[in-house]
């Protein structure tokens, strides 16, 4: 009789797990923007590369070794994190560091070039077709009585939420209490002043890119396991949506990125469920446009005053 509530909870859960992924990627955008004021257009590609590295690791281990699933996943995440950390560092050194002093447009175009390069880099190396990812964690929790609408909670999606929450808490603590976190906040406030006070700003910037890349890679591995397939072009759309999430929350603000990611995921899932799945991307892009028009500083962002 009453199917509305369980359905709502189901959609909310789906939205949360999708939003968690967006949040993981969005943090990379927001941290980089907070520190050097540029949009790291290639960030979505790092997420995609993370997913590929996870799959390569899985193929290297093989599915029949008898290792516990947790160990296999741990290895996948570890290798994805290590490789994308290097990617994050190299991308920054090659494409962004030389143009840091140039006008914003120059940096943005360089970033777009990097995004195109990485997409085709993977398409050349691993092929442009869809790759199947074997499911490591089949099965799901089910709630609800017999015959009625059952709430379906796949383990992988549960894992996404758990891992994301753990990472968010860890990141918040790290930014708040560690030496590097303090340096990052100092750089975000005033790069020049921070450098005068003896902070190695180059190192902080590199570290920010690495941190963002690592979080995106975790998101990539988790989503690959959930969706079960990947191709070199998944990064573009995910990247734009995560950017939307970052803007929604207020770009430059880490809690904002988390909030924005979750909100966007939920809104998109509801749009897909209650309007039409074909229009979910339009809803996401429409939201992006709307927020930038109505409240460019986002939900938790600080207004920026333009100075002469």
């Amino acid at each position: 009789m009453n199917e509305l509530l369980p359905q709502l909870i189901q959609q909310l859960f789906n939205g949360l797990s999708l939003g968690a992924i967006y949040a993981l990627i969005a943090i990379g955008y927001t941290m980089v923007y907070g520190i050097i004021g540029m949009i790291n257009f290639a960030h979505g590609e790092i997420y995609m590369i993370g997913a590929y590295v996870g799959l390569v690791t899985l193929a290297a281990i093989g599915t029949q070794t008898g290792l516990p699933v947790a160990a296999v996943m741990g290895l996948m995440l570890l290798s994805a994190v290590l490789v994308t950390a290097v990617y994050g560092y190299v991308v920054e050194q090659v494409a962004y560091k030389p143009v840091r002093q140039s006008p914003r447009l120059v940096a943005l175009i360089s970033a777009i070039g990097m995004s195109i390069f990485l997409q085709n880099w993977v398409a050349l190396g691993q092929g442009a077709r869809d790759m199947a990812v074997p499911s490591l964690l089949p099965g799901a929790l089910r709630f609800g009585e017999e015959g009625a609408f059952e709430i379906f909670v796949p383990y992988t999606r549960l894992l996404i939420i758990v891992v994301t929450v753990v990472l968010m808490v860890a990141l918040t603590l790290y930014i708040r209490h560690s030496r590097m976190g303090r340096a990052q906040r100092a750089c975000a406030q005033d790069m020049h002043m921070a450098s005068l006070l003896g902070i190695d700003t180059n190192r902080v910037i590199s570290f920010t890119f690495i941190l963002g890349a690592v979080l995106a890679a975790v998101g990539g591995v988790l989503i690959a396991l959930t969706v079960g397939k990947l191709n070199p072009y998944i990064g573009f759309l995910a990247g734009i949506k995560a950017f939307t999430a970052a803007v929604l929350g207020g770009i430059g603000s880490i809690p904002g990125a988390m909030l924005g990611g979750v909100l966007l995921g939920v809104v998109e899932t509801f749009a897909a469920a209650y309007i039409s799945s074909e229009y979910k991307d339009i809803v996401a892009f429409g939201l992006l446009v709307l927020i930038l028009l109505v409240r460019p500083t986002g939900l938790l962002g600080k207004p920026e005053v333009e100075k002469v």
């Binding site: 949009i39 290097v86 494409a95 175009i109 339009i282």
Partner: protein, 417 residues
């Protein structure tokens, strides 16, 4: 020396990490299992290359550092050679245009086809140049207006049976209207925010084209769009309407498909030339000056009593209009439009033309458009590396020569020291 060695080692190790999971271990399907096929030689080559380059870097830097000054001087003298008197310059332009109009009659069909494509990109590049180069507004959704133009003609033909020449002004007007309506709210945003919003609009337009299946034909698009007529004469073997004369009958020629190719080329060329002429005039008009002033300093502009909104909007609308004309021509040339032709990568390609040519420099845009369409055709065996190279060139240009191939030159007088 020791530092260099250490850096080179480090770079080589990083190369190994970066290359191995993508090129070193290739994912292959074996039945239901996914297995890895190692290609260690690729990784080794990449590492060796990076190691060598990093090791020689200080040396290379010194080499370039010494010749850098002289290269600039050489370039400066090269520019002086190109400086012509106004009469000579006009003569050269007329000669070049005449050459561009005559050569297709002697060249092969493929070459003319590629040249047509190049002319379309010149037109699009010049249109975007108004927005990005002159007014300094980064528009990542330019392809959306191109799509509006193409679909306007396609839909007018499909639903109302309009011909190309009737639809062409409507296509331009529709795209301009879109530019105006979309530009109105977004143009108060700053640089990179504007870029992202325009990207969003471009994607929304494409997604709508896919999803409004009843009007646009969905992912399949609209096909069998007729080619333009020559002053009402159809260019086909047989007239589609009983009793009408076709182009070859009227001229008393044998029917050849090459005629169509050449005609399309000439049309694209004239569209590109008109765009060039108009944008060349515009930049010398007060509105063009205002665009440039706005690009250089918005706050100063405002304090001088210029209305930034109106100035930006005019650039945005005009740029969109040229994209609309280009789109209508594209639809006529292809004979089919589908949302696939209007992806973000197309926007990036047009942007790359403007950036590579040198933002604001019309000659630069033309050269870049020709290079970007012709080079991939010449290097067909490297076709799969095309986009990879394209991304790389975008980065390298921004790092080494952000002002583009032929930076915009301002007329100025130097006071002799």
């Amino acid at each position: 020396m020791r530092d260099t060695l250490r850096n080179a080692m480090l770079a080589a190790v990083m190369t190994a990490v970066v290359v191995t999971p993508i090129f070193g271990l290739r994912l292959e399907r074996a039945g239901i299992e996914t297995v890895l096929e190692p290609h260690w030689s690729r990784v080794l080559w990449a590492c060796a290359l990076v190691f060598a380059v990093q090791l020689l870097r200080p040396w290379i830097a010194r080499l370039f550092g010494r010749s850098g000054g002289s290269a600039r001087e050489r370039q400066a003298s090269g520019w002086r050679l190109l400086e012509l008197s106004p009469v000579q310059r006009q003569g050269l332009i007329v000669l070049l245009i005449a050459l561009a109009m005559v050569w297709p009659f002697m060249a092969g069909r493929n070459a003319v086809d590629i040249a047509t494509l190049a002319a379309i990109y010149i037109m699009l590049g010049l249109g975007l140049n108004i927005v990005v180069g002159f007014a300094g507004l980064l528009d990542l959704g330019f392809v959306g207006f191109y799509a509006v133009g193409a679909y306007t003609y396609a839909m007018l033909f499909h639903w109302a049976g309009w011909g190309f020449w009737q639809a062409l002004p409507v296509a331009g007007a529709a795209a301009a209207l879109f530019g105006f309506v979309l530009g109105f709210p977004v143009l108060r945003l700053r640089g990179d925010y504007l870029a992202i919003v325009t990207l969003g609009f471009g994607e929304i337009i494409r997604l709508l084209l896919i999803n409004l299946t009843d009007w646009t034909g969905g992912p399949d698009g609209i096909s069998s769009i007729p080619k333009p007529t020559v002053f009402g004469l159809e260019m086909a073997r047989d007239a589609s309407v009983e009793g009408a004369t076709t182009f070859h009958q009227w001229l008393g020629l044998e029917f050849e498909t090459v005629h169509m190719v050449i005609f399309l080329y000439l049309m694209a060329l004239s569209l590109a030339l008109i765009t060039l002429w108009i944008s060349n005039r515009l930049i010398r008009m007060p509105i063009g000056r205002a665009w440039e002033a706005l690009r250089e300093d918005e706050i100063a502009c405002r304090s001088l009593g210029l209305n930034p909104m109106r100035i930006k909007l005019s650039a945005f609308t005009l740029g969109a209009m040229f994209a609309g004309f280009g789109g209508a021509f594209f639809a006529a040339r292809q004979g089919i439009v589908s949302p696939e032709s209007f992806t973000f990568i197309e926007s990036a390609l047009i942007l790359a033309i403007v950036v590579l040519g040198g933002m604001g420099s019309q000659l630069g845009v033309i050269i870049a458009a020709v290079l970007i369409t012709v080079l991939p055709e010449l290097a067909r065996e490297f076709a799969e590396y095309r986009m990879l190279m394209f991304g790389l060139v975008m980065i390298l240009m921004m790092v080494w020569r952000p002002q583009g191939l032929l930076p915009m030159k301002r007329h100025h007088v130097e006071v002799p020291a």
